[in-house]
Amino acid sequence: MNNSYESLAQEIVALSSVMSVSGYEARGMDEICRLLGKGFDRVETDAVGNCFLWKYCGRDGAPKILVDTHFDEIGMLVREILTDGFVRLVPIGGLSPSVLQAADVILYGKEAIRGVIVSTPPHLRSADENRLPDCEELLVDTGYPKEELEALLPIGSPVGFAPVYRELLSGRLAGKSFDNKACAAIAAHAISSVPKEKLAGDVVLMLSSYEETSRLGGASAGAFSCTPDYAMVIDVNLATVPDVPKVETVPLGGGLSISVSAATDLNLTRAVQALCKARGIAHTMIAAASSTGTNATSIQLVDGGIPTVDIGLPLRNMHTYNEVIDLSDAEALCSLVEAFVCDREIADRFCGREELPR
């Protein structure tokens, strides 16, 4: 692997390994502080499970810049404990049963318990039984006696994919939960590395909760409480593979993506596009019509409205334990975040809006 990628790759893997199934983000908070805290001035959490990492520019009355990366991940919860150590699940977020069968999982009860999701072998399936089971029907095999398991694993305990990461050729990484912790790690890396005098304002990196499960996401409450002048939402985007519609996807290795959408601010979007061009940052424009499918859609409408730009990191196999990203895209994203939080022209243009009538 190319040396320049190495530290960023390690940070992405370290953060993506933290268990943060929606609703259980707070369990990883100590680890987040250990991994990211050093590069920021203040770390705080709120009632909804959002975590805010502040870096101050040191000037009074400076603009407030929000960078949002959701921190929760898809997963499952324990729904019922059956005999012989089998556990029934409920999916959290958009999970496909085709991905779940035979997956390695960890059940986070009073201790971490390894398990494998059950898959019916083809020998035992008749030809007309090729229907996939619903997620709700799937079982985890833990090998524990029922009584022992009941003591270790309260109903509602989170279940996540086992964190296993691999390098592929051409600077690509495969593993779980790059959605969206790769983006969180990249944004943290970028903001940490900027000297504070260079910042165009006070920057808050919001690791937001509940993106995978709630229409609004925890980001709406988080953006309300930190009252930014403008915001950049960063989330993974669907990367092209053969046989999927090209029109809704972006090329892996083609740089970051910038959404053009009714749910984002067109002027801020154009300004960020211009910034990419000026800095030679590889990017793809993508049309996202009336919704970006990310936190941008809700953050834009918080309070009196927040100018918001939506940025994507191309990713294959979304919502599986083998999501694939390209480190050259990660580098491009890192460069953009650095440039964005330092850009005084954007800061002048999008802060200090006229007071709204109350």
Binding site: S22, G23, Y24, A26, R27, D46, A47, V48, G49, N50, L77, R79, E80, R88, V90, I92, E136, P154, I155, G156, Y210, T213, S214, L216, G218, S220, A221, G222, F224, S225
Partner: protein, 336 residues
């Protein structure tokens, strides 16, 4: 102390469909007023009762139960006097067919499906209300397009401590809040306690959102009914009638705050209150609105297990509701 069942009987006798909550609101206002310092109604029609805390910076808690119920809206009056209807809230046509209904003006009728409709084809556009009138003109003397109907309310006792009727969803939650308010009325607490009887829950939690935005609670607790896994054909769900109050972990609208869940379970164990841990696969509550309004709150929910929700024969056990009162009271007392 007021008897929970007596309170519930009174509340269930009052029809109040989403968006038309005046009558139940006035009834609740009178009942909650003696236990609180201030009672107000907001623009959306939420009833908000406040018990002032001793300290200005005490932790603010919002308890919420919805006072509206599902129903039907008259959309068209046929020549023969039969009324066509649209649903208000999550009506299951199979559960609602062949049920007595009553309008907000007190006009009685029966809700029936078009003749020979197969149960699997049943939907609201195949239901009509028969008022027993001869023709359109006589119907128009009693109702207008835009009138609301509800399934006729009322509860009665079955075996043991089980009761049945409607709208137990969520008058039983309202009864629980009244009971908690009564029990806490003479106790001095650090923070403000708000008892909110929300409007328009059945049409998407619309009332709780502005109420929570105005109150800005630190902690919020929703009290509503939940489904059970103890009837033939039900989804597998570790929740049964008579096993105690259900501490919500997740429903389709939210995942509750982990510490709130932990605290509720701890308090139940410490005080020997029967409880179960609830994951509801289908259905949401006001808790999701309280969680994300404004800067958000630490949101949790207590549920009363209930069979046959949204039918005329909702069925639950009084002991579970009593456990809910006890646990909600302990929770409020535990807030520092």
């Amino acid at each position: 102390m007021t008897n929970l069942y007596t309170t519930l009987q009174k509340l269930c006798a009052c029809p109040s469909v989403s968006g038309r909550e005046e009558r139940i609101r006035e009834m609740l206002r009178e009942m909650i007023a003696p236990f609180c310092d201030e009672v107000s109604v907001d623009n959306l029609g939420n009833l908000i009762a406040k018990k002032k805390g001793a300290k200005a910076d005490g932790t603010k808690i919002m308890l919420c139960a919805h006072m509206d119920e599902i129903g039907f809206l008259v959309t068209f009056i046929e020549k023969n006097g039969l009324l066509r209807v649209a649903p208000i809230g999550g009506i299951k046509s199979v559960s609602a067919a062949f049920t007595e209904v009553i309008s907000e003006r007190g006009v009685a009728g029966v809700l029936v499906p078009n003749t020979k409709t197969k149960p699997e084809d049943l939907s609201t556009d195949k239901l009509y209300i028969d008022l027993g009138v001869k023709d359109q003109k006589s119907a128009e003397r009693k109702v207008s397009v835009g009138d609301f109907f509800v399934l006729r309310g009322g509860v009665r006792r079955l075996a043991g401590r089980r009761i049945c009727g409607r709208p137990i969803d969520d008058r039983i939650g309202c009864a629980v809040l009244l009971s908690v308010a009564e029990r806490l009325s003479r106790t001095s607490l650090d923070g403000d306690v708000y008892y909110v009887f929300s409007a328009q829950e059945e049409v998407g939690g619309r009332g709780a959102l502005p109420a929570a935005f105005a109150i800005r609670p630190d902690v919020s607790l929703c009290v509503d009914v939940t489904g059970t896994g103890d009837t033939p054909g039900a989804d597998a769900m570790a929740c049964s009638l008579g096993e105690g109050v259900a501490v919500k972990i997740k429903d389709s609208s939210l995942i509750c705050h982990e510490e709130v869940v932990f605290e509720l379970c701890r308090l139940a164990e410490e005080n020997k209150i029967p409880y179960q841990r609830e994951i509801l696969l289908h259905g949401g509550t006001d808790a999701s609105q309280m969680q994300l309004a404004g800067s958000g709150s630490r949101a949790g929910a207590l549920s009363i297990p209930c069979r046959y929700i949204h039918s005329a024969v909702e069925l639950c056990e009084l002991g579970d509701a009593e456990a809910c009162v006890a646990l909600a009271e302990q929770f409020v007392l535990s807030i520092k």
